[in-house]
């Protein structure tokens, strides 16, 4: 029994960072650790349903995505509004290529983009987070979100259009170029 747990523990060790990133980026915020724990426990319970021919990573990440969405639903019931996760914005990465001023500007732009993204409708936010923030392919995004691949493509296009509309003035000022 301990050996089996060790084997599963290795899978947890291998995928915990990816799972945690997905939980944070799909909106779990400060509950991301609990979400990931729940997801791994459910994954272990559900390993029998894991089909040959199915990649493990997207299967696990789909469980994480579902747990994150369940969290949102329970929050709505409990609080009547969505709790967004601006507080999870990472401060430590210098995106200014060594230029401190550029790094500050870049961070502020990213913070605004993150806030705008959190304000989009759920499906738009989920598909953009998967496709661009997590850099998943259309196929991986379809598996993680449980959508048809065609839906991923069309929803991505609509979500980008909506984001462009929200960012319009900033784009024209060249803030993200």
């Amino acid at each position: 029994m301990a050996g089996d747990l060790d084997a599963f523990g290795m899978l947890v060790g291998r995928y915990q960072a990816a799972a945690y990133r997905v939980a944070v980026l799909l909106g779990a915020g400060g509950d991301a650790e609990d979400v990931v724990q729940d997801a791994f426990v459910k994954a272990l319970r559900g390993l029998r349903g894991f089909r040959a021919g199915q990649p493990f990573r997207p299967w696990l990440l789909r469980i994480v995505a579902n747990e994150t969405r369940n969290l949102h639903r329970s929050r709505r019931r409990r609080q009547g509004l969505e709790q967004r996760v601006v507080a999870m914005f990472p401060e430590g990465v210098d995106a200014g290529a060594g230029d401190p001023h550029l790094a500050v500007v870049r961070k502020e732009l990213d913070r605004r983009l993150w806030a705008v993204l959190q304000g989009l409708p759920d499906k738009d936010r989920l598909v953009l987070s998967c496709r661009y923030l997590l850099d998943l392919s259309e196929g991986e995004t379809a598996r993680v979100l449980g959508w048809a691949r065609g839906s991923v493509k069309s929803r991505t296009s609509r979500a980008l259009a909506r984001l462009r509309a929200v960012l319009g003035p900033d784009l024209e000022e060249g803030g993200w170029q």
Binding site: D4, D6, M10, R45, L47, P55, P90, L109, L133
Partner: protein, 226 residues
């Protein structure tokens, strides 16, 4: 809106995603998962079906089938070519210094100081290496110490379990194959010409290889992690 605007928005989102690339799971998450699973196992009326060995083996086999497909798609052979120390090479293997290996592989590497500097150090797995291999000459014999991130080496379901020092180790005698999982989730298989002893300590999976018997290999292992 123009195609240029599309590109700007997409690039801005990707740049935002890179901010999160270094975001790691909180320390202790894996241990917390294990505690919860163990707690469920002892709760009356509640059983985790997959902890039965046959279920876990079936799941592992399913994962392996996927992985072998992935290897083919990626153009990797299932068995990596020989690395020159009685083992198949790591995918995209390259020689580095010990310091470089320690900077690349996210583990707190340790090596026995009495062995002196390694003769050769290699890492694999492209730009996200999870395994480092250090070759030594100890007492006139070639000894190969492999250190990897948890989960890279899939040892859970085969070999003989032995006690070595303060650890439970897996003894893999003679010529054998072992399966690995790389950072992309793809499996690959390596063939070993000599016995290996594998154990986990302090968040590192150690594998020690030498053309000696169990007792001598266990003595060397104790020099690595007590």
């Amino acid at each position: 809106m123009t195609r240029r605007d599309d590109h700007v928005v997409e690039e801005a989102l990707r740049a935002l995603g890179r901010r999160f690339a270094e975001l790691d799971a909180p320390p202790g998450l894996a241990a917390a998962v294990r505690r919860r699973v163990e707690a469920e196992q002892v709760r009356p009326g509640r059983r985790l079906r997959v902890t039965r060995p046959v279920a876990l083996i079936a799941a592992a086999a399913a994962i392996m089938v996927v992985a072998l497909g992935g290897v083919l798609v990626l153009g990797r052979s299932v068995l990596q070519p020989d690395a020159g120390y009685g083992a198949s090479a790591l995918p995209q293997q390259r020689a580095v210094t010990l310091e470089q290996a320690r900077a690349m592989v996210p583990i707190a590497s340790r090596v026995p100081p009495e062995w002196g500097p390694p003769d050769r150090v290699v890492v694999g797995d492209g730009d996200r290496p999870g395994v480092m291999v250090l070759s030594y000459t100890v007492g006139g014999r070639q000894v190969v110490l492999e250190e990897s991130v948890p989960g890279a080496l899939q040892i859970g379901l085969h070999g003989e379990t032995r006690v070595v020092g303060n650890h439970l180790a897996t003894w893999l005698p003679g010529v054998h194959e072992e399966r690995y999982l790389d950072a992309t989730g793809a499996f690959y298989t390596r063939k070993f010409q000599a016995s290996r002893l594998v154990w986990i300590a302090d968040g590192i999976t150690f594998a020690l290889q030498a053309d000696v018997g169990f007792d001598e290999l266990a003595a060397l292992a104790r020099q690595v992690s007590g």
